[in-house]
């Protein structure tokens, strides 16, 4: 095994990891504050991809490009997130976990079919933005510029979220809501607004990651249920509700998947699920999380 081969495996794993981090960070944020596993997070991601494709179609004649389309898609999904939380989710706070889980699953079913209805079942694809269409050579391997961009944007988003959560007043409110929502409510803070904002931010991140994935993956129905399981594993490994936990969880996931293929060919899927089960058994709150 040559170093350049190992390096390209490593980069492959890192690209997967940073993508998953973009998706999983939103899932983890919502869990941290609301204690809900949002199955519909994968659907938001899928809608982000479809909306980005749609926006590219509309913007193309005007010369507007991929980046504007991605932003529009992420904002669109964020608005959908606000509506979901305000109209439906609010009614389920305080109900059993099962009802909250099933509500998000109902969204998966409805949004999945809505996307099929609106965009059909054919594969759609978006071309790579021209500025990032080339590739560079590192350690004797060829790395497309777009994947380098993804590898860079993961830590950038992690850092931005960390600044937001730990260095701003709004972030302090969110962390307080994570710790004790009754107390925060009693102190006169607008907990409902915090919930809506977190849900919106989480949906925005899902939509953004869906839009950013379009240049390297085709858009197909069913991408929602496939991605949510992976995002879910990442969040479980790192620790539900922990930002850096989710970051390192996705790095671990990416490398296990990438090098697992070398060690047990054909069983890399098994190895990540097994890793998730082991973590849940030994440390249910994840590597970086705190016990509930």
């Amino acid at each position: 095994m040559s170093p350049s081969f190992l390096f390209s495996q490593f980069m492959g794993g890192l690209t997967t990891a940073m993508f998953l981090f973009l998706i999983a960070s939103g899932l983890s944020l919502v869990f941290g504050v609301m204690r809900v596993i949002n199955f519909a997070h994968g659907s938001f991601y899928m809608l982000g991809a479809y909306l980005a494709w749609q926006a590219v179609q509309w913007l193309h004649p005007t010369g507007g490009g991929f980046w504007l389309a991605a932003l529009c898609a992420a904002l669109g999904v964020g608005i959908l997130g606000v509506l979901t939380e305000r109209v439906f989710f609010r009614a389920l706070y305080g109900r059993e976990e099962l009802y909250q889980l099933l509500f998000t699953y109902a969204l998966v079913l409805v949004l999945g079919d809505a996307a099929k209805f609106l965009w059909g079942t054919d594969q759609l694809s978006v071309s790579t933005p021209p500025a990032l269409a080339g590739s560079v050579r590192i350690f004797g391997t060829t790395q497309p510029l777009y994947t380098m961009f993804i590898v860079a944007i993961g830590p950038a988003i992690a850092f931005t979220l960390w600044l937001l959560l730990s260095r701003t007043g709004a972030g302090r409110m969110v962390r307080a809501a994570q710790m004790d929502r009754e107390m925060l409510d009693a102190l006169g803070a607008n907990v409902a607004a915090i919930y809506t904002a977190m849900f919106a931010l989480s949906a925005f991140l899902a939509g953004l990651s869906g839009a950013l994935v379009t240049p390297i993956q085709s858009i197909v129905p069913g991408m929602d249920v496939l991605i949510i399981v992976q995002a879910f594993i990442v969040v479980v490994i790192g620790g539900m509700g922990s930002l850096w936990g989710t970051f390192w969880g996705s790095v671990i996931y990416g490398q296990v998947l990438s090098f697992g293929i070398l060690i047990f060919p054909g069983f890399s899927l098994f190895s990540v699920f097994a890793l998730m089960a082991v973590i849940l058994i030994v440390r249910p709150w994840g590597l970086f999380g705190r016990p509930l």
Binding site: R35, I37, F39, F88, A91, L92, E97, L98, Y99, L101, L102, F103, Y105, A106, L107, V108, L109, V110, G112, D113, A114, K116, F117, V225, V229, F232, I233, V236, G266, F267, L269, F270, F273, A274, M276, A277, L280, I281, P284
Partner: protein, 345 residues
């Protein structure tokens, strides 16, 4: 007592007595036996397709009842119940197809195999609470899926195990009236019988002291622990029984659908069976079978009109969550109580 008072009290007492008698008669009718016998007539009175639907309902009913042993009776939210269904289907399918084992051995083996796997997975799951329990059950079911999907030599991988043979049912020809039935219809009758026996056993289990302890754990685990009940051990026992029953349902389903495929074990199937169970009503023994019948029937009706079945299923689920948390049987029960109060008022 004055004559006037007697005149007002007596008719009311008489009416109450009639209502009581009517109710006694109503509840003395063996409804379950009647439904079972009606289901058994399907191959003669219905089309081949009706038999197909009835078999689907029968198998789903057992699967949903097994899940409700966790969901409704013990209060455990399993989001990976399809794993045990899948293990049962694969054990039975592999034994019958690859090794040529007879159904009468492969069927119990499927139940035992699924129960054994439930014992291993459950040992770890019951140590977690609520959401973490749901997540670990989901993780285990995805492990089963990954194995089924990738272990080509044994499970057939993504090609699955097609053409699992039917059991030998020539002996049914000896039963009057069964001589002309196709092998599919005969297998349906066998399925109905096996499911009915399994449901009767679950019914006994739920009403036994063991079942009462499970309900106590659901309602108040701390209090159950104070009473000296080993909560985890009872939860594990419920998990194993539920897993074994799901395995039996899986074994029947593999033969009924002429093959076992990795798709059966994907996590979204677990969600579907949860929907089926709460659609019927988790608070009632007969809720899940009613949910199974309703969902299979609805699927059949709706897919005639539109390909967007998931959309309809999602809408049904939303209506259930926001409007009828008790499910169909819960809704009927509520309606019945209201009517009774109206008549008594």
């Amino acid at each position: 007592m004055t004559a006037e008072a007697t005149a007002t009290v007596l008719p009311r007492a008489a009416a109450a007595a009639t209502a009581l008698r009517r109710r006694a008669v109503f509840s003395r009718i063996p409804w379950t036996l009647i439904i079972f016998l009606l289901m058994a007539t399907v191959p003669w009175v219905g089309s081949r397709y009706d038999t197909f639907l009835a078999a689907q309902i029968t198998i789903d009913a057992l699967f949903a009842v097994s899940l409700n042993l966790l969901l409704g009776t013990t209060g455990l939210i399993s989001f990976g119940h399809v794993a045990y269904f899948g293990v049962g289907a694969y054990v039975c399918g592999i034994l019958m197809k690859t090794y040529g084992v007879a159904f009468y051995l492969a069927f119990p083996a499927a139940g035992l195999g699924a129960a054994l796997f439930a014992l291993i997975a459950g040992y770890f799951c019951v140590r977690l609470i609520k959401l973490y329990f749901a997540m670990l059950t989901l993780a285990f079911s995805q492990i089963v899926w990954a194995i089924a999907y990738k272990w080509n030599d044994v499970t057939g991988g993504d090609q699955g195990l097609p053409e699992i043979p039917y059991p030998h049912l020539d002996w049914m020809s000896a039963i009057p009236g069964c001589g002309d039935l196709s092998i599919g219809a005969r297998f349906y009758l066998l399925t109905l019988l096996l499911v009915a026996v399994s449901l009767a056993i679950v019914h006994r289990v739920v009403r036994s002291p063991f079942g009462r302890v499970l309900t106590t754990i659901r309602d108040n685990p701390e209090r159950a622990a104070f009473l000296g009940i080993n909560v985890r051990l009872y939860q594990l026992a419920a998990f194993v029984v539920a897993g074994g029953l799901a395995g039996l349902a899986g074994a029947l389903y593999g033969i009924f659908s002429r093959g076992v495929f990795a798709d059966y074990v994907f996590w979204s199937k677990s969600a579907e069976i949860v929907i089926m169970t709460i659609l019927g009503g988790t608070g009632y023994f007969w809720g899940p079978p009613v949910g199974a019948a309703a969902l299979v029937w609805l699927n059949q009706v709706i897919t005639d009109y539109t390909q967007y079945w998931s959309f309809v299923l999602g809408a049904i689920l939303l209506a259930l969550l926001f409007g009828f948390p008790g499910g169909i049987v819960g809704g009927l029960d509520l309606l019945w109580q209201r009517l009774k109060r109206l008549r008594n008022a």
